[in-house]
């Protein structure tokens, strides 16, 4: 009886809150060594070890030796089954405060946490959606019963439900570029709710569906209070990459500029061609914008980029001071940095691009698997 009491389930949402609150946790990850090396749960006060579950079939003693007493314990696997199996034995061995992750890394990969960034001048609000397991960020602008979603993720239900809770109808979905690390939910969501899907035309050469052209010089309005979304052409991560200025205060950079890094130019196979665009955007175009803008990127690479309550944001002028990618004065050195020694490419990135172009239509389960792993859109990870 005591053993069952000591064992509880932890949801991805509970784990997210714990990471954001910087609480202590000891994680035993029982996936294969390769999967663990590729991608794991991270947090400021999280200790994590890896012992594949099949090494614990004869008993959990090898794990017990390494698990500190008195700490909250979470056992994690790919889907749930083997973590529950191992966690039960750890609890039976007399350890307390033992949890297993509901739905495993699959559920961790898909959890989205909405965080309010700010009220807007005209009375609306801006929200950031933190996909903490994968490091993706989406945004929702809400004003006077209308909403626009930027860089919508595949889990479109979350956005629909959130808009509903705000009493808003989604009118627009926008992609800052053709994504290579995650499957966009923008088109699906726009079709479902009868909204408009916006995509930069230069990234849409090969797409198989209709869309509205996200181009500089054309504002998108949300709500009666006129929260403007102003596109700024900013190529470099892709040829079409377009940033958005919301309410004259926030710069949504897509995958061009992150808090601690800059975008990589190689995911469409054109690093050499696009490196010049990337430099031009970061060192000239963005320099010409108001330095008081608050940068809101489409990704984070490290948990250190998560600020208070999980918000990922920074003032543009601060990034020009601190972000290493904005401080490579010599062009040749910049070229080397963004084309050589890049991290491995995101899982299934070519298939993900094909999916986002509408060229292939994988099943839900295939889509889940394509997205497993970290985002890897930055030069430094």
């Amino acid at each position: 009886m005591e053993a069952t009491k000591a064992l509880s389930v932890m949801t991805a949402r509970e784990l997210t809150r714990l990471v954001l609150a910087r609480e202590e946790l000891f994680i035993l990850d029982v996936r294969n060594e390769n999967d663990f090396k590729d991608w794991k749960i991270e947090g400021e006060k999280i200790d994590v070890i890896n012992i594949p579950y099949f090494e614990l079939l004869d008993g959990v003693d090898p794990a017990l030796d390494q698990i500190p007493n008195g700490k909250k314990i979470l056992v994690v696997c790919a889907k749930e089954g083997s973590s529950k199996f191992v966690a039960e034995q750890i609890a039976q061995a007399g350890r307390g405060n033992v949890h297993y992750l509901e739905g495993g890394m699959k559920s961790w990969s898909e959890h989205l946490e909405p965080v309010k960034i700010s009220d807007l001048k005209g009375g609306g609000s801006l929200y950031q959606f933190v996909r903490i397991g994968k490091g993706c960020l989406s945004y929702m602008v809400v004003s006077n019963g209308e909403a626009a979603v930027v860089d919508t993720l595949r889990m479109t239900d979350v956005f629909e439900e959130f808009a509903k809770s705000q009493g808003a109808t989604i009118k627009h979905t926008l992609d800052t570029h053709l994504h290579a690390d995650h499957i966009s939910g923008g088109r699906k969501l726009a079709e479902k709710i009868g909204g408009t899907y916006w995509l930069p035309p230069k990234d849409a050469d090969e797409v198989t569906f209709s869309y509205d052209k996200l181009e500089e010089g054309q504002d998108i309005t949300v709500g009666n209070t006129t929260i403007r979304i102003e596109p700024v052409y900013s190529p470099g991560h892709t040829i079409g990459s377009t940033s958005l200025i919301v309410d004259e205060q926030f710069l949504l950079t897509g995958d061009i500029l992150f808090i601690e890094s800059i975008g990589r130019p190689d995911l469409a196979g054109k690093a050499e061609d696009w490196v010049g665009d990337l430099r031009e955007t970061l060192y000239n175009r963005y320099r010409g914008l108001s330095q008081d803008l608050i940068v809101l990127p489409a990704h984070f690479g490290k948990v250190s980029e998560l600020g208070e309550e999980g918000k990922v944001m920074a003032k543009l002028s601060d990034l020009y001071g601190k972000n290493p990618g904005l401080n490579i004065q010599e062009e040749a050195a910049f070229r080397r940095t963004v084309t050589e020694n890049l991290p491995p490419q995101p899982n299934a990135y070519q298939e993900i691009r094909q999916t986002n172009m509408g060229k292939i239509t994988p099943s839900e389960e295939e889509q889940q698997e394509m997205e497993i792993g970290p985002n890897r859109c930055a030069v430094h990870n």
Binding site: F54, L57, K79
Partner: protein, 75 residues
């Protein structure tokens, strides 16, 4: 190939395919071959890692209509 023991784990989710396979392998003698059938996609990576770690030999692996077949020789 001569198969000495067939282990059917079809329909079972992780960790059961490997739990069953391990139990079956414990009962074999050196040189004998077991065939494990699974419908769990995750078992593909797990089987390879498990066989490697336990230092037995994965002689063959094949997939047919969503059924994964592993042939493991006890060393």
């Amino acid at each position: 190939m001569q198969v000495d023991l067939m282990v059917d784990t079809k329909g079972l989710a992780c960790p059961m395919p490997i739990v069953k396979a391990k139990k079956a392998l414990d009962g074999l003698t050196t040189g004998q071959v077991m065939e494990v059938q699974s419908t769990d996609k995750g078992s593909v990576n797990d089987f390879q890692a498990w066989v490697k770690q336990t230092k037995h030999e994965l002689i063959q692996y094949e997939e047919e209509n969503g059924i994964y077949k592993f042939f493991v020789k006890k060393i």
